[in-house]
């Protein structure tokens, strides 16, 4: 929801970044306030996933210019794990498999690490088991998940649900969902979207990175941004996604870039 008095959670200015020496982001600006849901759309290669990974601090990406302020802090001062503890959460497009590590063990370590950093109570294995089972209901997950190795042998839909389960446990300030809808059938999409909707509130914010409009039928964004060649070239309300769906990304190119490029409310 948009509320002009809300606190700014994320402020990105003039962001340039390289991967393997190739410039991917070329002056990206974005402001996100608490309570808001932003969708970033764009063609493959436009830089949207790169932006998601840079927010989380992925070491393969090199920031060459620009600033990111997260919750009044310079984000670049924080290591990836410190960003996570401070409330930056990335739901991965391709969640990583970790053979031999039980999901419940991994989830509890993540939960307790973040809890202790925030000065909150840690849970022992039994308490955590009750707690996580409750959260799993939100995503209609089978309790068997807990005993399996992290993401190993999970279907695409199971992996994505596991990501949102982690989001539910870690209660981020800023959640970035990187193509969470890809590879999901319609039922899984509904469940995942429903989970995300229950986790959004006036104190946190969500960035949805997606290629398709269909996720936005379930999670309704306050803003839709279109990325191209490493910059946001158009920003509008939720209706923009529908127009993109109807006309394709070329429709924007037909538009006059100069009026909309980089403009943000």
């Amino acid at each position: 929801m948009i509320n002009q008095d809300s606190k700014t959670i994320l402020e990105v200015r003039g962001l340039h970044a390289n991967v393997n020496g190739i410039e991917i982001l070329k002056g990206l600006d974005l402001t996100v306030k608490s309570g808001e849901i932003h969708a970033i759309m764009g063609l493959n290669g436009s830089g949207k996933s790169t932006f998601a990974k840079i927010l989380a601090g992925h070491p393969a990406y090199e920031v060459t210019a620009g600033t990111i302020i997260f919750n009044d802090q310079n984000l670049f001062d924080l290591e990836p794990e410190e960003r996570a503890r401070a409330g930056v959460f990335l739901a991965f497009q391709y969640p990583i498999e970790i053979p031999g590590v039980a999901n419940n063990q991994f989830l509890r370590l993540a939960y307790n690490t973040v809890q202790s950093q925030r000065g909150k109570e840690e849970l022992d294995p039994l308490e955590f088991d009750d707690f996580v089972r409750e959260k799993m209901k939100l995503l209609e997950m089978n309790p068997d998940f807990l005993d399996r190795s992290v993401n190993e042998g999970f279907s695409g839909g199971e992996k994505k649900r596991n990501e949102i389960l982690q989001m539910a446990l870690l209660e981020p300030k800023l959640a970035i969902l990187d193509e969470t809808d890809s590879g999901l059938d319609i039922d899984a999409l509904r469940i995942v979207a429903n989970g995300v909707n229950q986790l959004t509130n006036k104190d946190n914010a969500t960035i949805l990175v997606t290629h398709y409009q269909r996720l936005l039928d379930y999670i309704v964004p306050d803003y839709v941004h279109v990325m191209e060649a490493g910059r946001i070239i158009k920003t509008s309300g939720k209706e923009l996604a529908k127009e993109l769906e109807a006309h394709g990304y070329d429709w924007i190119n037909a538009d006059d870039h100069s009026k909309t490029a980089g403009v943000r409310l």
Binding site: A56, G57, H58, P80, E81, A84, L90, F92, I98, L170
Partner: protein, 478 residues
């Protein structure tokens, strides 16, 4: 990891293990005279001298194996001194005298308190109010008729058992290093579990650690009579240093009908510095004979130290329905080299074997699994399952798998699976993104990778081994 700890692991042991040069030391070089000297110094019976001399004869006709996937400068066997009088280690009066940095390493590894004392060279009696742990255990074992002592002691007190079993599993001319060991071994452990006795506790070399150094040519012999069982633990997680570079040990296990021997090793010899200078050459021959029906030999090893490791703990499955198991984790970092695996020789009917090998390579190290599964024509319905997984950390290390399978009986079932994975940037980043730091992330990944092997270790040992691995690999990831 802090530079302090890194340095500590790589520095020579300050206390206990290194003593001043003794005067009672044999001149360098190996010849018949030296072997006679060793035998007479140890007051050995004539047959044992004959055993040594026979081994020496064999050794002279052999040449050092070249087939293993390791590189090292040629060893000059004539520049080694093969005998020095057993030297009691200098004892410290209390834990206060121990180097505080050493204590911090123990703390980090989670070595239990009484072991820390023993390892640091503090007299255990001082710590435990004059009640020696070792003595207490010895009395308890004697009650059920178990013999557990040094092999030199056993030669004097139970010569008939030594004569009956020594060299029956690893013959004197088995291989170059075994022959050398048979000629010049100085000490080691002897363990005898009589008929029907289940050893009431895990036998550990910890108990013997404070007596005297066993030297570079260690010899171990373990016998479990009919229906007996024992779990034996060798080594410890604390870093172990030695001035001798070459270590050529021999371990023989014999299990009679329905007997079970479980042999677990945690090896953490000095591995050389981060540039690959120094470090122990660990060339070991370990073999178990599952002689009786329904007998079982199980090897579990966690190899983390030594500059070069060359060992293949093996099982000869002669008894009908006998079982052989090999569970191994080998970790190499910096310039370490490991060529390790097992041999499962199926001779009896319905014999079964399992091989689970996990190797983790980091830095510039190289790790090879080399294993043989042989099904003899007599081994009806033999079964083997092998799984070899390698994990690479960084892009300068290597891992190889050399499985040899020889099947001479059509009823056999042999399965082999292998995999190679990498602790990559992405895997670590996933942990970081969930708030988990590098140290815990690596520990969790490694532990998950090695789970099937660690499950085989006695619990305390498993906890220590987990910490040891993380400790060894710290700084090599991320």
């Amino acid at each position: 990891m802090s530079a302090v700890l890194q340095n500590l692991v790589n520095q020579p042991y300050k206390h206990g293990f290194v003593t001043e040069i003794e005067s009672d030391i044999a001149p360098k070089g190996l010849n018949e005279e030296i072997i006679r000297l060793i035998s007479s110094k140890k007051n050995e019976p004539e047959w044992l001298l004959a055993f040594r001399l026979q081994a020496y004869e064999k050794w002279l006709s052999m040449s050092e194996p070249q087939w293993q996937n390791v590189n090292y400068p040629k060893i000059d066997y004539q520049s080694i001194s093969y005998y020095s009088a057993p030297k009691p280690k200098k004892k410290l009066a209390s834990m206060d005298e121990v180097d505080p940095e050493l204590l911090r390493t123990f703390e980090k590894l989670g070595v239990p308190m009484h072991e820390r004392a023993a390892l640091a060279g503090v007299a255990v009696d001082v710590i435990f109010d004059s009640v020696s742990v070792a003595t207490t255990y010895k009395e308890k074992l004697a009650e059920v008729g178990i013999i557990f002592c040094s092999i030199s002691e056993a030669v004097q007190t139970h010569p008939e058992l030594i004569k009956k079993y020594l060299g029956t599993v690893v013959p004197v001319g088995d291989n170059f290093y075994a022959a050398l060991n048979s000629a010049v071994f100085t000490d080691g452990s002897f363990c005898f579990i009589p008929k029907g006795v289940k050893c009431p506790m895990d036998l550990s070399t910890y108990f013997r650690i404070n007596t005297e150094e066993s030297g570079q040519f260690e010899r171990t012999l373990i016998i479990a009579e009919e229906g007996a069982s024992v779990s034996y633990l060798e080594g410890c997680t604390a870093p172990k240093f030695d001035t001798n570079q070459l270590h050529a040990a021999v371990v023989e296990l014999i299990a009679l009908d329905n007997a079970e021997i479980k042999y677990s090793t945690v090896q953490n010899w000095y591995a050389g510095d981060e540039k690959g200078v120094g470090g122990i050459y660990n060339f070991v021959t370990k073999r178990g004979l599952a002689k009786g029906v329904n007998s079982r030999i199980s090897w579990t090893q966690v190899e983390t130290g030594a500059a070069i490791t060359w060992k293949y703990p093996s099982c000869i499955l002669r008894g009908e329905n006998s079982v052989g198991e090999f569970y191994s984790v080998a970790v190499t970092n910096n310039y370490q080299q490991a060529d390790t695996g097992t041999k499962m020789i199926h001779i009896g009917r319905n014999t079964r074997s399992t091989i689970i090998s996990k190797s983790i390579s980091a830095g510039y190290s190289n790790s090879s699994y080399r294993g043989l599964v042989r099904i003899a024509p007599t081994a009806e319905n033999a079964r083997n399952y092998s799984q070899c997984d390698s994990m690479l950390i960084g892009d300068q290390c290597g891992a190889n798998t050399f499985p040899y399978i020889q099947v001479n009986n059509n009823s056999a079932k042999v399965e082999h699976e292998a995999s190679t994975s990498k602790i990559g940037e992405d895997q670590l980043f996933y942990f970081f993104q969930r708030g988990i730091g590098a140290e815990e992330a690596v520990s969790m990944i490694i532990n998950g990778f090695c789970k099937e092997v660690f499950q085989q270790l006695p619990m305390e040992f498993a906890v220590e081994a987990t910490k040891l691995l993380s400790f060894k690999l710290e700084g090599s990831v991320g």
